[in-house]
Amino acid sequence: MTTTELLRANLLSPIVLSFALGIMARVVRSEFALPKDIYLGISIFLLWALGLQGGIELRHSPLQAIAGPAVVTILLGCLTPVSAYLVLKRIGRFSAADSAAMAAHYGSVSAVTFIAATTFVKSQGMEAEGFMPTLLTLLESPGIAVALAIGAVQTNTGGRPVREVLHEVLTGRTMVLLLGGLMVGFLIGDQNWQVIQPFYDTKGAVFRGLLCLFMLEMGVTAGARLGDLKKVGGFLLGFGMIMPLLHGALGVWLGHIAGLSIGGATVLGTMAASASYIAAPPAVRLTLPQANPTYYLTSALVITFPFNLLVGIPVYFQLARWLGGTP
């Protein structure tokens, strides 16, 4: 399949079209929106299912298979916030606080983009390694911590104590559900899993169906912020698309070196390319209050998320195939 065919197949996937419909609904000023609590409930289900299934798969993964990918994942978590910060500060001429705030988002990872990448890889008849959700939890926190540390030093505001920030990131919804799910999944074993699998299976109908509903609301949320694109300027528009490509390529390459399959390298590349918009915003808001939320929310949610969904994931997949020797 050529890159163009991949892009076309991706554009017609239920996830992407649900997201597009959500945006359209907001553009035509429809009153449609998913009730907040239902949206929150679905996000809990998605993360919990992801964690549980990851825990089950973790039981079947030998330690030496995970060690290499785990090391490169943490490396990515430390590198991507620094590269994002330097580009924003030196080339984009953003203030230290704004640069660090955005770097925290690009250093962390978006779980929904991760799910979209896993689904895409499966639709191409491949499988990412079962331990990928473990890598997702590894990549969530370091980026936020590194970027906030840069921000605290550069803006010379002591900010909040490190302990408080760490507590917030590590006890956030994403971490508790993913890490908790991994542990519970690991402990319950295959027999117990079979009982609940039809409900929680990330390849199953319930998960895929709810994911579409979730994407519909993501589209509405992104659509509501479309107007902010005018406020953030051309540089951030370019940054939100070029930075993911660079981070994504780095992630795919490192994943390939660490021995991940084509599917696994695609998902790791997507993780590196994605920008967090669930865990990072509250941590950043409390730690770097002088940073402008319009910049970091718009770039992460309105530019980078749709870009990865529409273009990024197929590109990282093609890159992984090329590195893996199947052009």
């Binding site: 509250p282 319009t294 929310l297």
Partner: protein, 100 residues
């Protein structure tokens, strides 16, 4: 029971400030508070979490002295960087000993 005049301090704040403000109120002498979610628009526009959580409205009934302390603290700590407003009104309460 004779009603006594006290101050009702109302604070509308971003969702992320739930824990910090709750802790501040206790520390500054409020005996209790109510908190709920509200929707609306203000001069700042974007809130860090406005698509994950709505704004919060804190209400606490306190003495005039404590109300002053709370207002001063909010102004010094949050007004510059966060979307926060606060106002106080005089209310008549019974069982005023509950609030002091």
């Amino acid at each position: 029971m004779n009603p006594v005049s006290m101050q009702l301090v109302t604070i509308i704040a971003e969702h992320v400030l739930r824990e910090p403000i709750a802790a501040d109120l206790r520390r500054l002498g409020a005996r209790g508070y109510s908190v709920g979610e509200v929707e609306g628009e203000g001069t700042r526009g974007v809130h860090a979490q406005d698509w994950q959580g709505r704004n919060l409205r804190f209400e606490t009934v306190v003495t005039r002295e404590v109300a002053g302390r709370i207002m001063d603290h909010l102004a010094g700590t949050y007004f510059h960087d966060y979307a926060v407003i606060a106002y106080a009104t005089t209310v008549e309460v019974v069982r005023s000993e509950k609030f002091t």
